[in-house]
Subunit: 304 residues, 2 copies
C-alpha cells in the first residue's frame, strides 16, 4: 500500500497509538512517525521497544511539520493537549483523535485549533483490556470499525485521506455525527463497561463469598465481566464523565428492564424469562454473521 | 486411567452430558454409557454422531443396572425425571446431577429416590454458549471446578468414586453445602447472566440505535455480553426460578452499587470512579493467576 501521510505525530503512547504505529509500519502507510507521551517512563519504554521512529520530549516537538497529528490521550486530557500543540501545528495539517466520546472532545479540542488545520475526530472501535505502550499490536484494527466524525465544512479530500489510513491499517470506516456516535457507543460500550465494573465491584464486596471463591469459580460467567472491568481506569473515568447524558439515559433504561426481569423471577413468570432469553440469543447470531465475533465456544478459549 | 464405573447412564443429552461422554471415553473411565433424551430428535442426533454406547428410548431403560446415573436436564425437569427413574434404579447405585442450583434440585429429586441409592448432587462450573447434543467436547472440564454437594450421611466411598470420575475427566473437585453453593453461584454466574441478558435486551429495544448498528459496533464491549446472553433459554429460566433468593439478593446489591456509580457520573466524582475501576482491575489479575482465564488480549480472539 502507498504512503498516505509523510509525517505523523502520535500524542499519547498507549494501546491505540502503539497499535496504530505497528500497523502503519506493517503497511508502509506513513513516512516518519514521531511519538510523545507525558510520562517519561512511557517514553523510555517506547524508545526501548522501538515504538515510533523517534520519541520526542515535548508534544510541540512531536507535532512540528506533521501532516497528521493523532491525539491518543484519555478524553479528559484532550483539551490541554490541544492547547499545548496548537501554536506548533503546520498549516494544512489534519488533527484527529481516537477518543471514545466525540461531542465532549470536539468541544474541548475545537476552540484551540487554528483555522488552517482540519480537525477530523475519529474513534476506532477496537481495544483490549490491556493498556500502556507495550500493549499494542498491528492486528488490533483488522476488520473492526473506525468511526469518523468530521464537521460539515471539512474538505472531503482531508476526510478521504484519513479514511485511507484507517482502511490501510485494517479497519472498516463509517462516518456519523457526534451526537449519534455518543448514543450508539453509550449502548454498545459505555453502559456495558459500567455494568461490568459494577458487577465485579459487588462480587468483591460480598463478604460471605470470599475473594478466593469468586476467583476460583469465575468460569461460570463472571470472568467475562472481569475482562471488561480490567480496562484502563483513567480512560474509563473520562469516558463516563464526558458522555454523561447518553450513559445515564441508557443505564436508566437498563435498570427499568432489570427490575422487570427481577419481578418475573420473584413472581415465577417463566414464560416471560424464556421469551426474553430467546430474543437475546438471536442478537448473538447477528454479531457472528456480521463477522464481529467468533462462533468458537467460549470465544475460542477452549481448544478442541 | 482405570475405570471408575462399569455402567453409566446420562439422562438428558446436551452440552454437559455429551462433553462428559467424550471425556469419559477419552480417559477410559466408564464401561458402558447409555444415554436418554426426552426429544426423539435429540436421540436421533446422538445416534448419528455416536454419542453414548447406546441411546435408549426411555429413561427407565437407560438407568437399569447403571452404577452411576447423571441427571443432565434443566433444573426444572429434575423432579419429574427422578420420579420416572426411581423404580428402576439398581440398589447401591449413585445418582448425581449437573444442575446449576443445588438446594432446589435436592428438594425436587431427593424425595423420589429410594433409600438404597446414594444421591450426590454435583455442578461442573463449565459450559459454553452453545447447547444440544452436538455441542459437547472432551476438553470442556479441563482445569475447571466441579462442586460436589453430598448430604452428611452419604458414604465417603461413594463420594470418593464420583470425585475420581470428575478428576479423571479433567476437573478440580471441591465439596460445599447446598446453601453456600447457591450463594456463590448467584454471584459468579446467575446475577452476571441476568445482567447480560438485560443489557442485550435493552440494546435490542433502543429504537434510535438500529439493530444493525448495535451489531456492527459491538466490538467495543457489548459483544462480550451477547455471548453470555446467548446461553440456553430453558436452562437459564430454570436457574433463576430455582435460585430466586440468592439471585434477587445479589441483584439488589448490584442495583444499589450501580446507583452509586450513576450518581458519581452525574455529580462528576471522577476520584470515586477511578478508585472503583482500579479495584476491579485487581480481581481480573487474581483470576488469571488462578489459571481460570487467559491473559491473552480479548480472550485470545485476536491472533497476534
Amino acid at each position: 500500500m502507498s504512503q498516505t501521510y509523510d509525517k505523523v505525530a502520535l500524542i499519547g503512547l498507549g494501546l491505540i497509538a502503539s497499535s496504530m504505529y505497528w500497523a502503519m509500519k506493517r503497511e508502509g502507510l506513513a513516512g516518519e512517525v514521531r511519538g510523545y507521551a507525558r510520562s517519561s517512563e512511557t517514553r523510555d519504554v517506547a524508545r526501548e521497544i522501538g515504538l515510533c521512529d523517534s520519541v520526542c520530549d515535548s508534544a510541540a516537538e512531536a507535532v512540528r511539520d506533521a501532516d497528521l497529528v493523532v491525539l491518543c490521550v484519555p478524553v479528559g486530557a484532550m483539551g490541554a493537549v490541544a492547547e499545548e500543540i496548537a501554536p506548533h501545528l503546520k498549516a494544512g495539517a489534519t488533527v484527529s483523535d481516537v477518543g471514545s466520546v466525540k461531542k465532549a472532545v470536539i468541544e474541548a479540542v475545537g476552540p484551540y485549533l487554528p483555522d488552517n488545520v482540519n480537525f477530523i475526530p475519529a474513534h476506532p472501535l477496537a481495544g483490549t483490556e490491556h493498556s500502556g505502550p507495550g500493549s499494542g499490536f498491528a492486528e488490533l484494527f483488522d476488520n473492526r470499525y473506525t468511526l469518523l466524525v468530521p464537521a460539515q465544512n471539512t474538505p472531503q479530500k482531508a476526510v478521504q485521506k484519513l479514511r485511507e489510513l484507517w482502511e490501510g491499517i485494517g479497519a472498516k470506516v463509517e462516518e456519523m455525527d457526534a451526537e449519534h456516535h455518543d448514543l450508539v457507543l453509550g449502548v454498545t460500550s459505555h453502559a456495558p463497561h459500567l455494568i461490568a465494573y459494577t458487577m465485579v465491584g459487588v462480587a468483591d464486596d460480598l463478604r460471605r463469598v470470599t475473594d478466593s471463591e469468586v476467583i476460583k469459580y469465575s468460569a461460570a460467567g463472571f470472568r467475562d465481566f472481569t475482562r471488561i472491568a480490567a480496562s484502563d481506569p483513567t480512560m474509563w473515568r473520562d469516558v463516563f464523565l464526558n458522555n454523561k447524558e447518553a450513559t445515564l439515559e441508557i443505564l436508566g433504561r437498563f435498570t427499568e428492564e432489570l427490575f422487570a426481569l427481577q419481578r418475573a423471577i420473584r413472581t415465577g413468570d417463566g414464560d416471560l424469562l424464556h421469551a426474553y432469553f430467546t430474543r437475546t440469543r438471536a442478537i448473538r447470531r447477528g454479531i457472528i454473521e456480521a463477522g464481529q465475533d467468533t462462533d468458537a465456544p467460549d470465544f475460542g478459549r477452549v481448544k478442541k
